[in-house]
């Protein structure tokens, strides 16, 4: 539905138009139902929640100030309805722990033998496994994925619907991508056919109407009017939509070029011929260097529109721009299109070169801007930390690992050792720092460590200058050394971490004592330190219950190692003492009353506005 049409329909719905409501329902009920179903997992419940969502949306539609935000708005209603349902059941029916989630996903996707011998392999099987992986994501991550990828909502819109900030949404999307990518790689290792299409990504980035128009000007073919050029761009983009994935999944059962391996990569010799026929459908022939047609693909007009839009939205792609280099470099292709009997040749090498140049410039600009900002921030932080009361740099004897820097102008000079000294800084102060500033203060001496207190597998940074803490900021990690990020080692492999936000969470490292408390202490021991007063409260499905305590002037969550039986008892007790408790109005229990004395496994501090990746206005 066009934006102008949506605005008109919503305004009509505000006036109580039955027809407008029916239009909105027919347009969006499938999306809402799908979104809800993937959250709650049961068709009957999903139907009820979809019903309630539309009912509430019409009751409240007069409050929708910007009709163009209807889709985001109705998703937020649906999401809140799902959350209400979860709360009414006292606790999540999904995963109690990361391990449980992993186990379920393994059962769904990996432990089953992948029986895809060459002559029986079908793309549907692989797609099914990938769908299972998506289904296995936690509800909030899955919600973000559906809204972002399926409903084409921006990260900001998804954030509004889920009550999260944009960085948290990006983090969820990043984790989902990482998870799926890892599973795809596992499938490939198991022999399942997957196909890389570097040309597709390159084309996707290259062929925009602008470049098609440029190609049109340079073309020797007799092309009249801009429409054909636009169609050419749209056609090429449509083919990208088609070959981008179907080539990856379709080709595994139709290996037409005679190779016996499962994996086929359209390399630099692949050519693409796009035809626009009279019935407005598009066909594309992918041929090898000998002109043999490897695959013919058809596209209909609606796919063209979708693909053209996707082309415009290509910036949505999460992978770094810098990666355009390698992708573009891997292909040297020419595409020829013919539209309404007229042909147009596009020299993709020229487009590729242009794209590479643009990507390099963008990456260089971005890096320069980042460096400048980091330098300023680091300088400011150093000055601040020196000035602040109690914040001083202290020297310890623990200097076994030092950062090495090379002399810039004379490689023959011996390497200069630069010591990384522990920096003393309050937690409140640290939570105002940027990850880059902390890393700079550590002379880039840091390591990535798995976080204990996150809902999904995430990594925090443990800086040499702050050995007692693990910092978390929204991030994504790429394999290898990549410009613009911080390169380090993870599990013995070189990787580069990019930060997408400020520090939102600090975990106290194991063995570090804060306010007389450290991980490994039991509930009763902590209670004694806290003067005999301690409780736990209900939290989310991951951490389940936690104590919220003040340590050295900052609030922390203490998580415990609880068995399922113990957790059930705690929740039952909460329900008895406060039947309507929920995450915003929690119940508090002194575990001593239940005779439970678990071990503290995690101590976490949050920056203002963050608690387990959700904002306080959740």
């Amino acid at each position: 539905m066009k934006k102008s049409e949506l605005i008109y329909i919503v305004e009509e719905a505000k006036n109580g138009s039955k027809k407008a409501f029916e239009t909105l329902y027919n347009e969006y009920s499938d999306r809402v139902y799908f979104f809800v179903l993937k959250n709650v997992g049961r068709e009957d419940v999903a139907e009820d929640i979809t019903h309630d969502t539309f009912l509430k949306s019409m009751e409240k539609i007069h409050t929708l100030e910007k009709p163009e935000n209807y889709l985001t708005w109705i998703h937020s209603i649906a999401y809140n309805k799902c959350a209400d349902m979860f709360r009414s059941e006292s606790r999540s029916t999904y995963f109690d722990s990361e391990e449980e989630q992993e186990a379920v996903m393994d059962n769904l996707a990996l432990n089953e033998p992948v029986m895809v011998p060459e002559d029986h392999a079908t793309n549907r099987d692989t797609a099914r496994q990938l769908m299972s992986i998506i289904d296995g994501l936690k509800p909030d991550m899955k919600s973000a994925v559906i809204m972002y990828y399926y409903d084409d909502m921006s990260a900001a819109e998804v954030g509004k619907a889920l009550g999260l900030n944009q960085n948290a949404v990006k983090q969820k999307l990043f984790q989902a991508r990482k998870k799926l990518r890892a599973e795809i790689e596992k499938l490939q290792q198991q022999g399942v056919a997957m196909c890389a299409v570097p040309m597709g990504r390159m084309l996707h980035k290259c062929v925009s109407p602008k470049y098609a128009a440029a190609a049109k000007v340079s073309s020797s073919a007799a092309v009249s009017g801009g429409l054909v050029a636009g169609k050419a761009a749209a056609a090429a983009a449509a083919v990208l939509l088609i070959i981008g994935i179907p080539v990856g999944l379709h080709f595994m059962d139709s290996n037409k070029n005679g190779s016996t391996g499962d994996t086929r990569i359209l390399d630099s010799s692949a050519n693409l011929t796009v035809s626009h026929t009279n019935d407005s459908s598009l066909t594309a022939d992918i041929t090898d260097s000998d002109g043999e047609v490897l695959e013919t693909i058809e596209s209909r007009p609606d796919e063209t529109v979708s693909a053209a839009k996707k082309d415009e939205d290509s910036s949505k792609s999460s992978d770094s721009k810098a990666s355009a280099d390698s992708k573009a470099d891997s292909s040297s292709s020419k595409a020829s299109t013919s539209g309404n009997g007229k042909s147009l040749n596009m020299d993709l090498d020229a487009l590729r070169a242009d794209a590479v140049a643009r990507a390099k410039k963008e990456a260089a600009d971005e890096e320069a801007a980042k460096k400048e900002a980091a330098d300023k921030e680091a300088a400011k932080s150093k000055a601040d930390s020196s000035k602040s009361s109690g914040a001083n740099i202290v020297t310890t004897e623990n200097r076994t690992e030092n950062t090495t820097t090379s002399a810039p102008d004379d490689s023959s000079k011996p390497e200069e050792k630069k010591e990384t000294l522990p920096v003393e800084m309050s937690v409140d102060k640290m939570l105002t720092m940027s990850p880059s500033a902390l890393i700079e203060l550590s002379n880039n001496d840091f390591e990535l460590v798995p976080l204990t207190g996150t809902q999904s597998q995430s990594y925090g940074i443990k800086c040499k200058a702050f050995p007692s803490y693990v910092f978390y900021a929204p991030n994504y990690i790429e394999d290898g050394a990549v410009d613009g990020g911080y390169t380090t080692e993870l599990n013995g492999q070189t990787c580069t971490i990019f930060f997408a936000g400020s520090i939102s969470q600090i975990e106290i490292a194991d063995g570090t004592e804060i306010g007389g408390i450290s991980t490994g202490m039991t509930y009763e021991q902590i209670k004694a330190v806290k003067g005999g007063t301690l409780t736990v409260r209900n939290e989310n499905s991951f951490i389940s219950v936690c104590s919220e305590v003040e340590l050295d002037g900052h609030n922390y969550y203490l998580a415990y190692d609880l068995t399922e039986e113990q957790t059930d008892r705690i929740y039952a007790y909460m329900a008895d003492t406060k039947p309507d408790f929920n995450i915003m109005d929690p119940a508090y229990v002194d575990l001593s009353d239940l005779g439970i004395d678990p071990v503290c496994t995690c101590i976490i501090g949050f920056s203002d506005g963050f608690r387990y990746g959700r904002s306080n206005n959740y």
């Binding site: 027919n26 019409m58 009751e59």
Partner: protein, 48 residues
């Protein structure tokens, strides 16, 4: 391995949506129920 993740997700989710969608009959029933309820409650007008 180079996979166009955005398109992969979109394609998978589209397929999932198609497979899990309410039937036309279910949609029609729900729409009728909703419409009737909202008319009763005065949220929408019976006549255009």
């Amino acid at each position: 391995m180079d996979i166009d993740f955005d398109e992969l997700m979109k394609r998978l989710l589209t397929q999932m949506q198609q497979e899990s969608a309410m039937t036309a009959e279910e949609k029609k029933t729900q729409l009728e129920t909703l419409t009737e309820k909202m008319i009763t409650e005065g949220i929408i007008n019976e006549e255009e």
